[in-house]
């Protein structure tokens, strides 16, 4: 494993080195001190461990790489991730996994507001709770929450599946509870296993999804257009 110390190396140097790294490499980032845009735009299957708290947009636009943050993450962690894995050991601020297309985002603590906003295929597992307006306009993928969800969960939702084990403070427009099928339970079991969550069972989750009244054209609403 190689180490980059951000007390002596610039952020630009860190990112350009990680972005041009070959598959299989392993890097440790020391003294992140909450800097923004750490380990962004990675394209190769490499491992990066950030030893401390990260600022905004950590591991954004990730493809294939596995990024572990041994601390908290600021706004927009793993935003627009395409593939790979981002694992936050602490809490994440707002807009975690925003617009992400693929890969797995694991947050061991809590996530703030707007977790999974406009997610487009990513899987997100949060061991703690999530804030308000989470999964707003979420299009596809799965959001698994072992704790509670804040207000207006899944507002204007498309086809993302939201699984919540704790309490939901309120559902957003066009979001409703659905029956869990054996296939849904299998998804939860598989994601919990991938995320390394061993103390939650799929049976304890409830499923929320789109009532599909907002995004299908309804002739009764024609006069509104």
């Amino acid at each position: 494993m190689q180490t980059i110390d951000l007390n002596t190396t610039t952020l630009r140097e860190l990112n350009s080195r990680l972005q041009t790294e070959n598959a299989g490499a392993s890097w440790q980032v020391a003294n992140p001190n909450g800097r923004h845009a750490l380990a962004v735009g990675l394209t190769q299957p490499i491992e990066v461990t950030i030893e401390g708290h990260a600022g905004y947009y950590a591991a954004g636009m990730n493809q294939q790489a596995s990024v572990v943050i041994n601390g908290n993450a600021g706004q927009g962690v793993a935003e627009n991730m395409m593939s790979g894995r981002v694992h936050v050991k602490g809490n994440a601020s707002s807009s975690a996994g925003a617009t992400a297309h693929g890969g797995l985002l694991v947050i061991e603590g809590d996530a703030g507001a707007r977790c999974g906003i406009s997610m487009k295929g990513v899987d997100i597992v949060v061991r703690g709770s999530i804030g308000h307006m989470s999964a707003f306009m979420a299009q596809s993928g799965n959001l698994v929450v072992c704790g509670d969800a804040g207000e207006a969960l899944g507002d204007s939702l498309y086809e993302t599946r939201i699984f919540v084990r704790g309490k939901v403070r309120g559902l957003g427009a066009d979001c409703e509870e659905k029956d869990m099928t054996p296939e849904d339970r299998a998804i939860v079991t598989s994601l919990l296993e991938k995320a390394g969550v061993t103390d939650c069972k799929a049976e304890d989750f409830r499923l929320y999804g789109s009532a599909r009244t907002l995004y299908h054209f309804n002739v009764d609403n024609a006069s509104a257009y």
């Binding site: 800097r35 401390g52 708290h53 905004y56 600021g74 809490n91 601020s93 707002s94 507001a113």
Partner: protein, 299 residues
């Protein structure tokens, strides 16, 4: 944008370090607010004494200003000059006369704050320069709040820099923008409040002072602001004994807090905490929207 920082010391042994730590936190928020900066430091006063911060002093007017002040208080007071601000210290009974004197003293002199503990400094320019002008690094105290401004709603002036103080020992810093500040200002003016600027954040400060003057506690006043203030805000409010934090229901302006046995710290971004002692083992969390967080020293 704008950056906010706050530091409340639980461990009195850290008091001599307050200015140095606050200054470091403030400088880290330069990218969020390079236009102007300001800070309030609470460091107590002698029994029965009051402090007033006045700004706009220069070599040209300090002599006559000081002479007039000492005449009002009968000589038994103190004047400490820091850059273009002065701290006046005097017996509490002279408060109305001193305030009237500062208000009538023209020549660019302006009232900044008064109370038993607060000192309030602000200036235009990079936060590092503003902190250096007043030697913030050398200040001690029980708690401090600071602000770096990127102006959106009104001009870049010293008066428009934060914090705003509209009541004794009270001050407020704000990240965000209020949309109903004009109508609220008119209402508050009818209630007898005075405003020095066109700034939206000053209205928020005035609103809270108005509620506090009606006998409400700080947390009640802040809760009421959730109904009456329209817009985006993360507020940090300082009082003689502590500070409070409130975020609007949407919580679009950032906020992070850190707590250890020695202190409670607030900042817009974690970066501001990186140099605090013991931060690696601090509890770091994001304050929830609509919830009032409040820390106070026992009186």
């Amino acid at each position: 944008m704008c950056g906010i920082v706050g530091l409340f010391l639980k461990n009195r042994a850290l008091e001599p370090e307050l200015g140095r730590l606050t200054s470091q936190m403030l400088k880290t928020m330069t990218e969020r607010g390079p236009d102007s900066a300001g800070f309030a430091v609470y460091n107590g006063a002698g029994k029965g004494q009051r402090k007033m911060t006045v700004r706009g002093l220069s070599d040209g007017n300090i002599g006559s200003f000081e002479a007039g002040f000492l005449e009002i208080i009968g000589g038994s007071g103190e004047v400490h000059k820091r850059h273009d601000h002065v701290i006046l210290i005097y017996a509490a009974e002279h408060e109305p006369a001193v305030r009237a004197y500062v208000d009538m003293f023209d020549d660019g002199v302006a009232f900044a704050s008064s109370g038993e503990s607060i000192e309030l400094y602000k200036g235009v320019g990079l936060p590092e320069q503003v902190a250096a002008h007043f030697a913030l690094e050398k200040m001690s105290g029980t708690h401090a709040i600071g602000h770096t401004r990127m102006a959106t709603e009104s001009a870049v002036t010293v008066a428009g820099a934060h914090p705003f103080s509209t009541g004794p020992d009270q001050c407020l810093v704000h990240n965000g923008s209020l949309s109903n500040h004009n109508s609220l200002r008119r209402q508050l003016v009818r209630e007898g409040l005075r405003f020095e600027t066109e700034n939206d954040s000053e209205v928020a400060a005035g609103y809270l002072s108005w509620r506090l003057s009606k006998g409400e506690k700080l947390d009640q006043a802040l809760k009421a602001s959730l109904n009456d203030l329209d817009g985006f805000y993360t507020f940090v409010v300082g009082t003689r004994d502590g500070f409070a934090v409130l975020r609007d229901p949407v919580a679009c302006k950032p906020a992070v807090m850190a707590e250890t046995d020695d202190y409670v710290a607030f900042a817009s971004e974690y970066r501001s905490f990186a140099g605090l002692p013991g931060i690696a083992s601090a509890e770091v969390f994001e304050p929830e929207p609509q919830r009032v967080y409040h820390w106070e020293h026992a009186a």
